[in-house]
Amino acid sequence: MSGARGSLLSVEHLTMRFGGLVAVDDLSFDAPAERITALIGPNGAGKTTVFNCLTGFYQPTAGRMTLRHPRRGDFLLERMEGYAIPAQAGVARTFQNIRLFPGMSVLENLLVAQHNALMRASGYTVGALLGIGHFGTAERRAVDHARYWIDRVGLIDRADADAGSLPYGAQRQLEIVRAMCTEPVLLCLDEPAAGLNARESAALNELLMFIRDEHKVTLLLIEHDMRVVMEISDHVVVLDYGCKISDGTPASVRNDPAVIRAYLGEDEDEAQEAPTQP
């Protein structure tokens, strides 16, 4: 690890209450820049809730989430509107239940991701309608950008096929590269390995490490698949019932008794398997 790298994302005392239920309780952690941070924990621990707070789908009850964009300065995510977070702060995400645009083609999905840049280039539509401005060039650039990512995940042959017609594994990958087309600095992935077999998980690992290393993007992922977590994360945060119970490198977390208790229950004499995908 090279020195003088700060955290891209600082979450401080994040709390989310739904009526009487406390989903996230005073959570604080940092996601170091250009590293992969994994958020793990038993089901119901509040991981997706954290994501939803980060990406503007929920308004947190309390707490602060600071994103330190390398070129645009700091953003307080809890104060921003949902659509502004990807557009300005550069935070992109994928969803637990894949949310592609199923009736639109693969290429079109990736072009929607580049919406804001294209809108500006089209003179907010008016320019392009009247034929002024350089929309054609901008669109070509956007298609090239999309082509790069489509090629990266091996979907070039199916670039014009409906996204909904792709097999499950390809859809997961498409969702990730679509998020990459928004040129984010932080990519939040919600269970990207869910439903993938061993080969597909390996391909996913490769893709994620490629994104981290070649594109210098910080990743934050929620995962249950420990293969993925242990193999590629640089930093792991463990949640249970909304509270952080461990925070550190994958090796330290794996051996943390608090974590083992959370996953396997109180009785430590039971067979100690590394927690695997349920």
Partner: protein, 304 residues
């Protein structure tokens, strides 16, 4: 003061009629997530069947009002329910797994069909009925304005309240009610644990239709005249009431209905009669801006 009280009584009675119709909308929406656009026409059919039954009773010589009312009530509830059942069976069940817009268009189509069906069979002119229930109580206020609380209005209120009580017991205490609430929560799961989803949905439509038919009867008695177009107007208002109260919530539907009835009565009395519908509607928009799921609706927590 007397004037105010009068508007209150008028508004509440009108509101109960809307509320009964609104319950039908909200139940159907709650269980299959579609707007039953033709529900207003069911109300209208209830009114028509009521007037016809009255006329038949008149022709065969049953004149005693309580008996006649009872017969009309039973006849209209029974016959209108069959329309509700048929509507679901023919137009909505085939589209249960289709996009919602398709179901909406079908519903609008059925609404147009039923309107014209009645118009062709019964004629396009208005149908008047001799007043059946007359008389009432009068409270003299200041000697200038007398507040009248007619027996008909009392009947409407009593009938509606009893129906609401019976209905709530049905929903909360019986197996059918449980099945309905289960379907409302999760249709797929309900069928997996053995609930006859088709039957539950059909019964939902039947219940909504019977309540709407009672509303139709009350409308007929209250206004003394009906035509084939009352379904559309009452339907829009009742649907507004259902949304206002929180679509999917039965008490919300009745609350919404009462509110719309009161707004109409007070606005026509204190401002202008022409814009009463505009007022009711504007209030709906206001409420939705601040409480997008209606007054008693559950906040829609997005599952992301």
């Amino acid at each position: 003061m007397g004037y105010f009280l009068q508007q209150l009584i008028n508004g509440l009675t009108l509101g109960m009629i809307y509320g009964l119709i609104a319950i039908g909308y909200t139940m159907v929406y709650g269980i299959i997530g579609m707007i039953n656009f033709a529900h207003g026409e069911i109300f209208m059919i209830g009114a028509f069947i009521s007037i016809i039954t009255f006329m038949v009773l008149g022709l065969i010589g049953i004149g005693w009002v309580p008996l006649a009312l009872l017969i009309v009530l039973c006849a209209t509830m029974l016959l209108t329910s069959v329309y509700g059942w048929a509507l679901e069976r023919v137009a909505y069940r085939p589209l249960r797994h289709s996009p919602r817009l398709a179901a909406l268009i079908t519903a609008i189509g059925m609404s147009i069909f039923l309107q014209n069906y009645v118009q062709l069979l019964q004629g396009a002119r208005v149908k008047p009925l001799q007043p059946v229930i007359t008389g009432g109580l009068r409270f003299f206020e200041d000697g200038r304005f007398a507040v009248s609380f007619s027996y008909l209005q009392m009947l409407i209120i009593v009938l509606t309240i009893s129906l609401m009580i019976g209905f709530t017991i049905l929903i909360n205490r019986t197996a059918l009610g449980r099945a309905q609430r289960a379907c409302q929560q999760d249709l797929g799961m309900a069928s997996l644990i053995g609930i006859d989803v088709d039957r539950t949905i059909a019964l939902t439509f039947v219940m909504g239709a019977s309540l709407a038919s009672v509303a139709g009867l009350m409308f007929l008695l209250n206004y003394g005249v009906i035509d084939f177009y009352i379904g559309f107007h009452a339907g829009v208002k009742a649907f507004t009431a259902a949304v206002l109260g929180g679509i999917g919530s039965v008490p919300g539907a009745m609350l919404g209905g009462l509110l719309i009835g009161l707004i109409e009565a007070f606005w026509s009395a204190y401002f202008t009669v022409e814009y009463k519908d505009v007022a009711a509607f504007a209030i709906l928009v206001m409420v939705l801006i601040f409480r997008p799921t209606g007054l008693l609706g559950k906040p829609d927590v997005e599952k992301v």
